[in-house]
């Protein structure tokens, strides 16, 4: 190999490594950016779930006051999932359970006012859709659970009338997609 050829070869090798480094940096930057975007999307999804929870807890549609849900409204909402989707958005469901000493789950029924039941599932149709997504392994979900109170409008019954009774409960809001 002549001296010229050796120098040429060195030159080509050096260029090759420089290009390699540039490509590596490019990949690093692209991957960093992708991670950032994914992180941002996850954070945003979490924040949306949190906002949905806040909205459910504060909206006069279901609440008597902030963090106190009205049992009459909850029962009314059981059969109106499509309307609830219009109001709160798609792909979510919520489970509200009164914390009582019995530990038994008694689901509240549509169209029947009762203070004997202790669990309301809002948008159960969405829960079914979620299970299907779960089976197809295409599910990403976020959930929040917070304590609240449920106001039982006809909670105390006396001879001359009724009074509202507040009961401690928890709400789980799930957002999936």
């Amino acid at each position: 190999m002549t001296k010229g050829q050796t120098e040429m070869f060195e030159y080509v090798i050096a260029t090759f490594f420089i290009v390699l480094i540039i490509i590596f940096v490019m990949f690093m930057l692209a991957s960093y950016q992708n991670d950032q975007l994914k992180l941002e999307a996850d954070k945003f999804k979490d924040q949306r779930t949190e906002q949905l929870l806040k909205r459910v807890l504060s909206s006069p549609l279901l609440a008597k006051e902030d963090s106190v849900l009205d049992d009459g409204k909850l029962i009314a909402a059981l059969s109106l999932c499509d309307d609830m989707k219009d109001f709160f958005g798609e792909k979510w469901y919520a489970v509200i359970a009164v914390l009582d000493s019995s530990g038994k789950t008694v689901r509240c029924k549509e169209d029947e006012y009762s203070t004997d039941c202790n669990t309301w599932v809002l948008c159960e149709e969405n829960l079914e859709a979620k299970i299907k997504l779960e089976e197809s392994k295409k599910l990403e979900e976020t959930a929040y659970t917070v304590p609240l109170n449920v106001a039982r409008k006809l909670g105390w019954v006396m001879r001359r009338g009724t009074a509202t009774r507040a009961e401690p409960a928890i709400i789980e809001v799930w957002v999936y997609g």
Binding site: T15, Q36, R55, A76, D86, E112, K153, L154, R159, G161
Partner: protein, 368 residues
């Protein structure tokens, strides 16, 4: 040999450097644009979350992230979505009346219908609302309604202030040296000493919005022109739009003033905000009417059931609530079924439902 090799080196060096430079410039250009898009998307996310926060909590806030990157935000009325050029859209699930600017105020307003409170968010940049008031008998009341429907920025860094246009002059709305904000102006208006103003010929600045209250508004008038025809009702016109806007509450006017005459890819923003308000309100009223009607019906049947079981005396005072709940339920059913023909078609039912709800609260049958 050496000369040939050196020539080769130079040529190859030039080709490779040229290639690298072009490549690097392209890549950096693309990367910068992408980073810019990421930043704009982040700002839009932050804006969306800020609107949700204000809507849910009622706590106002200032928002100045739009100063970081100029964002071309528009609103599509057909999709009811906020769009950012080249970055897709956001389906904000709460009513937001906005126009984008540097120093923005985000505030929650409320329209109380008696049986339902329609809440909305106003997000506008620092602004001075300039009233030009003609001889309309409802002018004072209309101004009061508008001021209450727009952000109260007392104790805020970014201000929504008020002024009156008098010919070619713009005077402070409160007649003081300080900026005239909502609370101060409402005091002035309630004292009945509102400054007189005449046809406005003054130049309206970039951070000012002209609101004319007149007996008759014509097409092509600057800013927003309002023609009150009664308490909280009338017609309005908007600069840049041919439409005559019929308003039935002050939230309609808040939407028009918030969007104002700003133009975006879909037309005049004020017009889009007005359509958005009415679409959101119709949807919300429909859902709320169904839930409240059903609740009233459930409570009526619940009370009847309790009395029937003997746990409560059949002549207990509360039994009077049964009839009231049934009547409220019927009015709300009327609201839900007539909303398909528009909010105006349901106005009669809504009024009666509001009255019935007030009666129910007064008689102690339910909470407000």
């Amino acid at each position: 040999m050496i000369i040939t090799f050196q020539m080769w080196k130079i040529v190859l060096g030039l080709v490779i450097s040229g290639f690298l430079i072009v490549f690097a410039v392209n890549y950096i250009g693309g990367y910068t644009a992408q980073q810019n898009d990421v930043l704009r998307a982040k700002i839009l996310n932050t804006f969306e979350l800020a609107c949700y926060n204000v809507y849910n909590t009622g706590n106002s806030m200032v928002f100045d992230d739009f100063t970081k990157v100029p964002s071309d935000i528009s609103f599509s009325t057909t999709e009811q979505k906020i769009k950012i050029a080249g970055l897709g859209s956001r389906d904000i699930k709460v009513p937001v009346f906005f126009s984008v600017g540097d120093k923005m105020v985000i505030w929650r307003g409320e329209q109380d219908l008696g049986w339902w409170k329609f809440r909305y968010v106003v997000a506008i940049p620092e602004t001075e609302i300039v009233f030009s008031v003609g001889s309309s008998p409802n002018a004072l009341e209309t101004m009061e309604g508008i001021v209450k429907a727009l952000p109260d920025t007392t104790n805020f860094k970014n201000k929504v202030a008020y002024a009156f246009c008098n010919g070619n002059k713009i005077d402070n709305g409160c007649g003081t040296a300080k900026q005239c904000e909502a609370k101060a102006l409402l005091d002035v208006l309630s004292s009945g000493n509102a400054p007189r103003s005449s046809k406005c010929t003054a130049d309206i600045g970039k951070n000012q919005r002209l609101v004319t209250i007149s007996m008759s508004c014509t097409n092509g008038m600057p800013g927003v022109c309002i023609e009150p025809q009664g308490p909280a009702s009338g017609k309005a016109r908007l600069e840049g739009s041919e439409t005559v806007f019929v308003y039935g509450d002050y939230a309609d006017l808040a939407a028009l003033i918030a969007g104002y005459n700003k133009k975006d890819a879909y037309g005049v923003l004020g017009e889009a905000m007005y359509a958005h308000k009415n679409a959101e309100m119709a949807m919300e009223l429909g859902v709320a009417a169904k839930i409240m009607a059903k609740r009233a019906e459930l409570l009526a049947s619940g009370l009847t059931g309790i009395a029937g079981s003997g746990k409560m005396d059949a002549d207990a005072d509360e039994m009077a609530c049964v009839k009231l709940f049934q009547e409220l339920s019927a009015f709300l059913d009327g609201v839900a079924s007539s909303l398909g023909k528009g909010v105006d078609a349901a106005a009669g039912y809504m009024e009666r439902a509001g009255e019935k709800k007030r009666e129910i609260v007064e008689k102690g049958c339910d909470y407000d």
